[in-house]
């Protein structure tokens, strides 16, 4: 256990966890913001997939 089993430990755990959650989710947001760039790799629409399957 890294965090002490005390009220102080609970507060530290909460602050670190909440802060890191926001950082990580923001990071995921940045990754998603780059997703439109994938469309430059090529077009993959529903008709193409369905017509090419057996």
């Amino acid at each position: 256990m890294i965090v002490p089993d005390s009220l102080y430990g609970a507060v530290v755990l909460s602050c670190v966890d909440f802060f890191l959650s926001i950082v990580m989710i923001t990071g995921i947001g940045f990754v998603l913001a780059a997703f439109p760039l994938l469309n430059k790799l090529g077009k993959l629409d529903d008709e193409t997939i369905k017509n090419s399957s057996h």
Partner: protein
């Protein structure tokens, strides 16, 4: 002769549950019946409450074999305890979910983290009440409003609290239409609730196929403790979005999901026995769970209002979307939409609300994963 007959009758009575009945069983049976009635009459999450309510009733009839070791309800509970059921639930959820709203509006994703402050308010509150830090973490995660994640984290941190945590998490999820609206209205003005969101950009098939692969890699890389749940969520979603596995995705989204819901609900309900449930600890957990939900709703709404300070007119976020950052998909999104629609019936927020709602699933997973890492639990 009469004595012998009375002796036999007594022995037969001792074999039944009648002699072990106590007032606690009556209270819990009443709670189970209330759940069933809420589901049927008020239509509050019938898929969850019917199974939980019925199993609650049966588990409080002494002598019921179904809840004893070897009984079907007991095996259902083991499926939850052994972390087989929660990943399969996420598998089915992934197969039913369109992550397009989350991909289309990345700015709203942050609400999926902001709405989880309630987890930590409840965690600190539980520690102040004398629970251990692991128990406090298991109680706090109720605030994520993600049933499978709450079960998953609770089994890892404090398995002895699983009945109370699971029941609190699923019951509050079902009661969100009652819990959230007063908080949203108290923290927003009518003008804010009338904000209309801009139309979202269309999301291509390629993006929808890339999403589960990319997020699967990210979660396994950074959050291994909770990776099983999110990985199964992404696998189910990939089956849905790739369009070449129709049979598999339809099975995951329908038949498998239905079977798993039955197992989950009877497993949870079967733990609601009066002797383990009617304790002061349970009341504390239930109250802390409610505080977590209220705190999360409030922090999500306040988070959206804070973001609006930095956004231009015409780009502002309807603060109701903040409450959708709680991971109860799609209930929280539906509630956000309904609250806004009461002010303006043509304000269709549901699609926008799904963005933070789905991000909330990742938010809860990330919060839970970091919590497990900091507490040294794998």
């Amino acid at each position: 002769m009469v004595q012998e007959i009375l002796g036999f009758l007594q022995a037969m009575l001792d074999q039944t549950g009648v002699s072990h009945f106590w007032w606690g069983n009556i209270v819990m049976i009443a709670i189970g019946v209330t759940m069933i009635l809420l589901a049927i009459i008020k239509k509050y999450e019938p898929l969850l409450l019917i199974g939980i309510g019925f199993a609650c009733v049966i588990s409080n009839v002494p002598g019921s074999d179904l809840i004893l070791p070897g009984g079907l309800f007991n095996y259902a509970y083991h499926g939850i305890e052994l972390l087989i059921v929660p990943p399969l639930i996420f598998f089915g959820v992934g197969a039913m979910t369109d992550f397009g709203p989350m991909i289309a509006h990345p700015k709203l994703v942050i609400l999926g983290a902001m709405a989880h402050l309630g987890i930590f308010v409840a965690l600190i509150g539980a520690k102040a009440l004398g629970f251990s830090i692991n128990e406090s973490g298991a109680i706090g995660i109720i605030g994520g409003a993600d049933g499978p994640m709450a079960v998953f984290v609770c089994v890892k941190l404090a398995p002895h609290l699983l009945p109370q945590v699971a029941v609190a998490a699923y019951s509050y999820m079902a009661l969100m239409p009652l819990i959230q609206p007063p908080v949203i209205k108290a923290l927003t003005t009518r003008k804010e609730r009338l904000i209309r969101m801009k139309q979202m950009r269309p999301v291509s098939r390629l993006e929808k196929i890339a999403f589960p692969v990319v997020l699967g890699i990210i979660v396994n890389l950074f959050f291994p403790p909770v990776a099983p749940l999110i990985t199964m969520l992404m696998l189910g979603n990939l089956f849905k979005e790739c369009l070449v596995t129709d049979r598999l995705y339809k099975t995951a989204a329908n038949d498998l999901m239905n079977v798993i819901i039955i197992i989950l609900t009877v497993g949870i309900g079967s733990t609601m026995n009066a002797s383990t449930f009617l304790t002061f600890k349970t009341i504390e957990i239930v109250v802390l769970g409610l505080i977590a939900f209220l705190g999360g709703t409030a922090s999500g709404v306040i988070g959206a209002k804070f973001m609006n300070l930095f956004l231009k007119e015409g780009e502002k976020i309807n603060p109701c979307l903040g409450s959708a950052g709680i991971a109860s998909v799609p209930i929280a999104a539906r509630v956000a939409h309904i609250v806004a629609a009461k002010e303006d019936r043509e304000n269709l927020l549901i699609y926008h609300a799904m963005g933070p709602n789905l991000a909330g699933v990742f938010g809860t997973a990330i919060s839970g994963g970091i919590m497990l890492a900091l507490l040294g639990v794998k």
